[in-house]
Point group: C2
Chain length 431, copies 2
Amino acid sequence: MVPHLITALTGPINELEQRVLDSMPAIERWFRLEWMEHTPPFYSAVDVRNAGFKLAPVDTNLYPRGWNNLTTEMLPLAVQAAMAAIEKICPEARNLLMIPENGQPSSFYLANLAQLQRIFNMAGLNVRLGSIDPAVKKNITFELQNGDHVTLEPVIRNKRRLGLKDFDPCTILLNNDLSAGAPGILEEIYEQYLLPPLHAGWTTRRKSTHFKCYEEVSKRLGKLLGVDPWLIHPLFDRCENLTLGQDSGFDALQTQVDSVLTRVKRKYKEYGIKEKPFVVVKSDHGAHELGIVTVRDAKDLQTLQERIQTLNKGRKSPILPHDFMVQEGVLTQERVNDAVAEPVVYMMDRYVVGGFYRIHAGRGIDENLNAPGAGFVPLAFEHSAQLPQPGVKPGASVPNRFYMYGVVGRLAMLAASYELEATDPDAQDFE
Amino acid sequence: MVPHLITALTGPINELEQRVLDSMPAIERWFRLEWMEHTPPFYSAVDVRNAGFKLAPVDTNLYPRGWNNLTTEMLPLAVQAAMAAIEKICPEARNLLMIPENGQPSSFYLANLAQLQRIFNMAGLNVRLGSIDPAVKKNITFELQNGDHVTLEPVIRNKRRLGLKDFDPCTILLNNDLSAGAPGILEEIYEQYLLPPLHAGWTTRRKSTHFKCYEEVSKRLGKLLGVDPWLIHPLFDRCENLTLGQDSGFDALQTQVDSVLTRVKRKYKEYGIKEKPFVVVKSDHGAHELGIVTVRDAKDLQTLQERIQTLNKGRKSPILPHDFMVQEGVLTQERVNDAVAEPVVYMMDRYVVGGFYRIHAGRGIDENLNAPGAGFVPLAFEHSAQLPQPGVKPGASVPNRFYMYGVVGRLAMLAASYELEATDPDAQDFE
């Protein structure tokens, strides 16, 4: 049973929705032209937050791991998009090797792997799972709750190719975000397609680079829609090379927090928004032991300082310098029953193929929901994001709301495409 | 409410289904490679008949007019496929002009037009309907049962382009099969994309050419599956330039009927099929006043002869020589309640986007169902043809059955692609 979803169907977001709907053919054409010049990531997922007065992406994942949360009704869209993606990248492909995350897989993650395997199998590929976890020395088969089976096999690397016993794939799909660094076993693979490319991993990626690209495309879409790009874009700043253990490091962070908060406050004032502005401090790449911290005021800053001091105490080695991003916090006004919810848009190639709500009963409207907790419940989108209902009053139609989420999701995917182009180590070879 | 569908889920067709499922990745790869060399028709619909022992297309329509019969759940697939099609043909497209059939539109046909307009609008185009019917001299707006409106506008032709008042399309989509001949107003349009091309109309098309191409591709798919291509292919022969009014004409037809019947009987014997074989006589292009005639035996032949004599009587002008096709009749073993049903597979670009059952309570299992009659009821496929369930016992899964229909539908579409290449009047320009 699908619980009643209280999407924030009122408020100023409706004006944005109306603009998006009115511009639908222009938006679709704009994306179409962009994809003539830029290559979409193979697959992606974007966390979107709807504050009731603005709608913005807060995270773009290039190794989505929640495919199991899509409904069966959405799968044909994913299969069709997978067909289109394969056709463009490697039409002659026969065998696909999927590389999952290392470590003991949770039942959710196994369901995700089974779903991906199913999608690419339906799209016409033999799909097997090869683990690059050194602990996986022989085949391991897991049984899922629905009776399906998932088998992880140890990969075999020779000088030029990566494969499995009796399985020589032409394409390798990573479902492993390489946050621990790109392992040598994946390097210097020149004869096979490696998707996404290694520089899409967190060793190379920087959130601030992504949001810089997002700022650029959101300005252009904003112009097309005739709206302030801030309505779809979270303000941010980068704090480079901060040594949090030192006072100078904390001071620099505080200055940056103040700067972003001031810009956010100015925007809130411009739009007459009564909510309390806040910013989110997060590592600019991968994860940091500090975690993701919400800062609303001086009190929160003090708490942050105490937290850093605690981290510092009792350590043998000092905290190393690290890059952070200070990002405008985007409230979420979405609720499922009483729990805070944020939509996650799933894309394959250039197409939105589905999505779900991430719901966290134990978290506040200004907190990160992508956290463990008994209250995390995925709730699949009931409708496709491709079927808006023009003519319906803004805010009165869930399909129209989903369409808008899909536009913002695709905008963040486009930003990821710009980002990957800018960070491609081989790009100069073709210039 | 969807009535209970009695698909023939038993019988020798199960072996074919099993082969198709087992070969799924190979089939998908084969199609992928074919589409690298050949261009799929922009859209198409294929009538498929499931005889319980064989499954074959009997008609391939390049101007499908039943889009209204697809369910809302299937629409996102059509939108996504339309996006892919437009992106390949004319990514910069902004305005699409759709040309409907001439004459007074039925409410069904209007619903079809509204659905197509919706699909292409969602795919990012401004869509308007331009009539080439000389009777349409000013805009006419029709109201549909669901409250939607469809407006037909008279087209405006200048020397180089076709358009509407204040609407200059870059792409023109025909939903008019041109069976009355390609009108001058559509000729010599070199600056705009005309889809499908004029030679896809019935002035140029020949059913026998289509089935000749189908024979070729079905042999290749048969080889891939390791099955006799006859299991997916209806035997046929062409009777060129028959003057039915003359004894010699009828004799030639009779000889051809006997020849095809003999070949069918041989196949039935080979497979131990107890059903009574039959053939269908139809015009090789467009429609003929004789209609579509089922011939089982000498008695049917005599009835056919009498019918021709009746046609001949009281005519001022003699029946002109015409080309006919004698095609192996394919029984349909599908039923919805007690009515005979045949599946129709709908495709956009290379993708199966849905389908429905054509159900005719007043017709027999060996008769053409595409005929007017109170009993004609479309019943949308409940499941996508893209989600087979491997591992399920053959014949026990409707999605698996639909997948097989989708494969045969796409095979007929591939044949249409070969056919359009072979008949392209401009092809030599590029050689």
